[in-house]
């Protein structure tokens, strides 16, 4: 099936080379990082995770969101998703690969990565995160590829994939739950030490993932003759609407506990993120942007008449995507480190090499999506 990715028009190749260029730049700076050490980034003794782990956390959510197509289609026989389910699975593949890459570029000793397998440590949540992420990648590769091959040959998918599809449902929930557990079980990091971390992660995942899928599906519709179907897109819109509201609700719950209990440690990270502490407030504009965008998205999405307009829907999807990207990426990761265990405010901002490496990983993910979607669209254009 791969040959489908090798034929395309000028625009297609232009886009591929553009991505390769960004990937190449990122790679060059990654080599620099390897030679110099992680000191090339903005990270420090106090903010020991930064942009990379922020992207990782956000993208695990995008990956998990494929389940929002799988559940309606396979468990509730919602046929409208039949045409786009492959896009969800392929998005998951690309997102998980980006996740793994972001963890890899964040490692101080990447050549020792196999130590995670040579010395398996079940009491470390990171061990389980590795297991569930790689498992999820494998599941989606097998499911996506097999069902698409069957479709190309105009046959029903083989029976043995079905159990894998069913397993992929709790598995998708697990990747995001385990990723939340990376944070939610650490004593002394107040922003992260919350039992609703996993539900919050899932809510924002089911907002950001389907939002990205709406953007991707409408893009596919615009540049190819494949139509994902109006109703499928509308249903995705409803899922995003519910999820973005639940996400905001969970956020309000966090605010209540922190500010009604008035426990300083619980209030500090929120105060830092939204108002700044002792004159430090690099994330204030970002956090307010995230907050305002999510409110705007809710206003646009909650009215069915507005949501039915695909132009408004795509704008809302973009708003949701940016908002969750800020909130669950930098907001969550950096906010967890400020104040530090000594109650000092030490700030972080990414460096240029760090940003370029991050863009390189994103470009790799986009390249994978482009190639996989190209294959899927070529097959669907023929069969539909």
């Amino acid at each position: 099936m791969f040959e489908k990715a090798l034929s395309g028009d000028r625009r297609y190749w232009g886009w591929i080379f553009f991505l390769l260029l960004i990937m190449g730049t990122g790679f060059i700076f990654y080599i620099k990082q390897l030679n110099y050490g992680l000191g090339i980034t903005g990270m420090s003794r106090d903010i020991s995770w930064g942009l990379y782990i922020a992207q990782f956390t956000f993208l695990v959510g995008v990956a998990a969101s494929a389940v929002m197509l799988v559940i309606p289609y396979y468990l509730h026989d919602y046929k409208k998703f039949g045409k786009i389910i492959i896009f969800g699975e392929f998005l998951a593949i690309s997102a998980v690969i980006m996740c793994l890459m972001f963890v890899f570029v964040d490692m101080g000793q990447p050549m020792r990565a196999m130590n995670m397998i040579l010395y398996p440590t079940p009491n470390s949540i990171m061990f389980w995160d590795m297991v569930v992420l790689n498992g999820y990648l494998l599941l989606n590769l097998i499911i996506g590829w097999t069902t698409l091959s069957a479709e190309r040959n105009e046959l029903p998918p083989p029976k043995w994939v079905k159990p894998l599809i069913y397993i992929s449902i709790p598995w998708a929930i697990s990747i995001h739950t385990v990723t939340a557990f990376l944070y939610a079980g650490l004593p002394g990091r107040h922003l992260w030490l919350t039992a609703i971390m996993a539900p919050r992660f899932l809510a924002s995942a089911f907002a950001s993932g389907p939002a990205l899928l709406i953007i991707l599906c409408l893009t596919v519709k615009r540049i190819s003759s494949f139509d994902p179907g109006k109703e499928a897109i509308q249903t995705l819109g409803k899922i995003v609407t519910y999820a973005v509201i639940i996400n905001l609700f969970f956020f309000v719950l966090e605010l209540f506990t922190a500010f009604y209990s008035k426990i300083p440690g619980h209030m500090h990270p929120f105060q830092y993120l939204f108002f700044g502490i002792e004159g430090h407030g690099k994330l204030i504009p970002w956090m307010w942007t995230a907050f305002i965008l999510s409110i705007m998205a809710i206003i646009l999405l909650i009215n069915p008449n507005m949501r039915e307009n695909e132009n408004i829907l795509i704008v809302s999807a973009v708003l949701v995507f940016i908002s969750t990207w800020i909130d669950k990426g930098m907001g969550l990761v950096i906010g967890g480190f400020i104040p530090n265990p000594f109650e000092e405010i030490i700030e972080y901002s990414p460096t240029v090499p760090e940003v370029l490496i991050t863009l390189g990983v994103w470009a790799t993910g986009l390249l994978i999506i482009t190639v996989l979607y190209k294959i899927a669209v070529s097959i669907k254009e023929k069969t539909v």
Binding site: S48, W49, M107, Q109, R112, M116
Partner: protein, 258 residues
């Protein structure tokens, strides 16, 4: 692709149940395969601990000699900037050392007083719990130690440590070591490090470098908590001591006399 919805849901629940069971079932097997399993059941005779007697720290020199002794002997690099900083033992104002004790009416003497901070060698160390490779581990004598050769530099331990005790080699440390001590290994970039209670000296029957550096006024008292006749036990019995963030249940092995 028309699947029978009801039958499938039943099938799905079955598979879900089985996969959960088999997943959980594998946990004891993985435990059994990990070397730590054996260590867990051993009983130690010792539990090393330190008492920091802040009454004895009077001059700048009192702090400096302890810090220098440690950092020289352990080849701790000096990058000269806070971003890349590596430190094993250092001073911190009272309000930063015990932030939950903040009180505006506390005596100025205490408020201004810098405290000695280092790795607490917790009884329940969160850093050990999160390390994905057992590069940081708790010895049977209570010392939380690092294996610099196994550390993959994921820095999960730094996020987990509630005391900010851990440093990461953001850059190649060797050019920034003033005078290399051949007795102790230097580190490479990309690994985490911290105080090791001078396990290399303890194994030779010596006391930790910082303890030795201030032995004239006995500002730091080191010993075995499990030995009722040890000096630390006696000091703990005759003085009121506090530990950092006791509410977290980590059970630090470093005590402070204010």
């Amino acid at each position: 692709m028309s699947y029978e919805s009801k039958a499938n849901r039943r099938q799905f629940l079955k598979i879900l149940g089985f996969s959960t069971l088999s997943g959980l079932g594998s946990i004891p097997a993985i435990w059994a395969l990990t070397p730590q399993f054996a260590i867990r059941n051993l009983q130690s005779e010792k539990r090393w601990a330190m008492v920091v007697d802040m009454k004895k720290f009077r001059t700048e020199e009192d702090y400096k000699k302890c810090i220098d002794a440690c950092h020289t002997i352990h080849n701790v690099p000096d990058f000269g900037n806070p971003k890349d900083e590596v430190k094993w033992i250092w001073k911190m104002p009272y309000r930063n050392t015990f932030p939950e004790q903040e009180d505006e009416y506390i005596s100025d003497g205490v408020k201004q007083m810098p405290f000695m901070v280092l790795c607490n060698h917790c009884k329940n160390p969160p850093c050990v719990r999160v390390c994905p490779t057992k590069a940081t581990f708790k010895r049977i004598d209570g010392i939380v130690q690092m294996d610099y050769h196994r550390c993959i530099g994921c820095r999960f331990c730094m996020a987990a440590c509630p005391y900010g005790s851990r440093s990461f080699n953001f850059r190649e440390p060797r050019p920034f070591i003033k005078e290399k001590n051949p007795e102790y290994p230097t580190r490479t970039r990309g690994v985490v490090e911290k105080c090791n209670f001078c396990e290399e000296r303890l194994s030779k029957g010596l006391s930790p470098a910082c303890v030795e550096a201030c032995k004239d006024n006995k500002a730091l008292i080191f010993g075995d908590l499990n030995d009722p006749d040890s000096e630390v036990r006696k000091v703990l019995e005759s003085n009121y001591t506090i530990r950092r963030k006791p509410e977290l249940g980590t059970q630090p092995g470093v005590y402070y006399i204010v």
